[in-house]
Amino acid sequence: MTLATPAVAVEKFSGAYESLAAGSSDVPEWLKAVRQQGWATFSELGLPTKRRGNELWKYTNLQPLAAADFAYIVGGLVTVDQIKAAGPWDDAWNTIVVVDGKFSAELSNLHDTVGLDAGSLAEAISSGKGDIESQLASLAGREEYAFTALSTAFIEDGAYIAIADGTELEQPIQVVFVTSDDAESRASYPRMVVDAGANTSIVLIETYLNLSDSAQFSAPVGELFAGDQSTIRHYRVQIENESSFHLGTTRVRQLADSNFTSTSFAVGASIARNDVHTLLDAPGATCTLHGLYMTSGSQQQDQEISTTHAKPGCSSNQFYKGILSGKSHAVFSGKVVVMRDAQKSDATQKDLNLLLSRGAEIDAKPSLEIYADDVTVAHGATAGHVDKDTLFYLQSRGVDEETAKAILVRGFAEEMLNEFEPKALNDFVERITDERIPILLAESDTIGTA
């Protein structure tokens, strides 16, 4: 690939990369090669720009990220109480805590659970656990995508979760990715590898939060391997501070009759992207990708959602909802690719948005690429305002306008919030939503005008 323009901001990261490469004598050779490959790709690509032809970044201006500086320091001081106060928590869950990209045994809350191996990715790498060598950076890293390449160049630590064949776990496994409470602006590249064996069933919660108010940059990457007939119920909660940059990637490879269901709750960061790709790589695999995003102020929140139907008889469903206010901007870019062999595929895509202000903008772009002939697909996207007849209905019952608006906005979010099943998680996303709604409404100027 040749680029007409020079790669942007590569030098910003090169010093950190060089010192990481120089100081990693104890790292296995294969990982060194993976990192080098990541760096080579990133240094060729640089940070994405809105240049012509760059379809993936057409609506997203990363200039503020390119202009900022971040220190690469792994690990920091955080207490369990801080994490419990800032994010969802249940003592019954197995929780892995990753601080500034580094696994913390002290903060993690891991129970002896038969069939579950959960802990540090660095340790999994050094001891060569399972298929780590072939899995790590296999779904995300060798592709030509700047942030996965950058993350791959900096692979050090994160979370490793392996579930033995036939294991069904009722209690969720949570991975908390937290940046520590100091004034420093840091870059972190935590990785997560989840290896769910055949006939397994798990609930997985990924939580991204930071404890400081200063701008943080994180490019986390999760790679999930769903074995034959496995069921993964996945949740992703992103509530980083509104100065931060969150460029997250999730890559899932699904085997026969596996079921991956994911619900995202994305309300944080200054610029955030939730990039999810599911590969339906064997017959009978199904995936459901849902999410709720809420933006205010000048936030940018992207959902970059794609599914590849590679084999016959798979089904996929993408359904996202957005609530936008202020001068915020959201992008829903949903893509479904149905390969030539993937007959009897079934795919749906939907993105519904509630715009609370004239200054808010949504770019919704559902798209289908179909190479097979026997498929069932449907897609759609809408953007609307709060309905004035509905508002009048509530007011006529004595509900004041502010409360009526809040009820309607909450009602719009409700079906996504209901998907968060673990009690502590559900309580958490409901509380954050209830805290956000007054902020969204304070920046609203379109209600009753639709």
């Binding site: 309905d387 004035k388 007849d389 509905t390 009048f392 209905y393 509530l394 007011q395 006529s396 019952r397 004595g398 509900v399 004041d400 306008e401 409360t403 009526a404 009820i407 309607l408 909450r410 009602g411 719009f412 979010a413 409700e414 079906e415 009753g448």
Partner: protein, 255 residues
């Protein structure tokens, strides 16, 4: 209780769109008034203007409740004074449960009057009683407000709200439209059971049918935005027999 004097109203932002052309009406405490009229006569508009729907602009006249003008009040403030509108087409509100919404309505009312909010436990008890009284399927009220409800279920839900909110003046806007006889009877029973010397009703309807079950004290015929005739309950039967033709002709001749 309610007094309407020379009320003129038009559609907001549309010139020469006058729908109400000088309505005069007095509804005393405990009275049931029926407002009948052909399609397009303005009867639904009247019901909505009384409740303060922002789509309409009052261009002349006044409406007073217990002697105080209400035209400057917001719909929620009118509700706090005891007014209620049962909608012809109740809004479907996804994600909002009737329970939650009615609690918010009662809380707002209590707040506006400087009273204590009802406890969740007491409200639940009241709500369950009313659900049973109205005969609405208890599973239905656990779902989103009106979403996926049949026409009859929506109207029953309006009756549930009427029962919970206990207004002093209830306006029913063509509550009978789209109802089968059984549903009609339920609505009528709801209204009849709530009739009291302290509560007034304005029942807006196209057909006399509903008035077989709810006997009004006064019947008004509304044609082209004006009340052209007022009488007792038997006036409704006359209209049923002879239709609105003679009133339309008379109004046309006057125009």
């Amino acid at each position: 209780m309610l007094e309407i004097n020379n009320l003129h109203a038009s559609v907001v932002d549309i010139e020469n769109s006058e729908i109400l052309n000088g309505i005069n009406l007095k509804v005393g405490k405990g009275e049931v008034h029926a407002i009948m009229g052909p399609n397009g006569s303005g009867k639904s508009t009247l019901a909505n203007v009384l409740m303060g729907r922002p789509d309409y602009l009052v261009t002349d006249g006044d409406v007073t409740l217990e002697g105080e003008s209400i035209l400057e009040l917001r719909p929620d403030q009118r509700a706090h004074l005891g007014m209620f509108l049962a909608f012809q087409y109740p809004a479907e509100i996804p994600g909002v449960r009737p329970w939650q919404f009615l609690k918010a309505a009662l809380d707002s009312k209590a707040e506006s009057r400087g009273e204590d909010k009802m406890s969740v436990r007491n409200f639940s008890k009241l709500f369950d009683e009313k659900v049973e009284a109205v005969g609405i399927n208890p599973n239905l009220v656990k779902r989103s407000l009106n979403e996926g409800f049949s026409g009859g279920e929506k109207k029953r839900n309006e009756m549930l709200q009427l029962e919970v909110l206990q207004p002093a003046l209830a306006i029913l806007d063509e509550t009978d439209s789209g109802l089968d006889v059984d549903a009609l009877r339920i609505v009528a029973e709801g209204v009849n059971s709530m009739r009291s010397p302290e509560r007034s009703f304005i029942v807006v309807t196209h057909y006399q049918r509903l008035l077989n079950y709810i006997t009004p004290d006064v019947v008004h015929i509304l044609v082209k935005g004006k009340i052209v005739k007022t009488g007792g309950a038997d006036l409704a039967l006359e209209v049923e027999k002879d239709g609105y033709q003679e009133y339309l002709e008379a109004a046309g001749a006057n125009a």
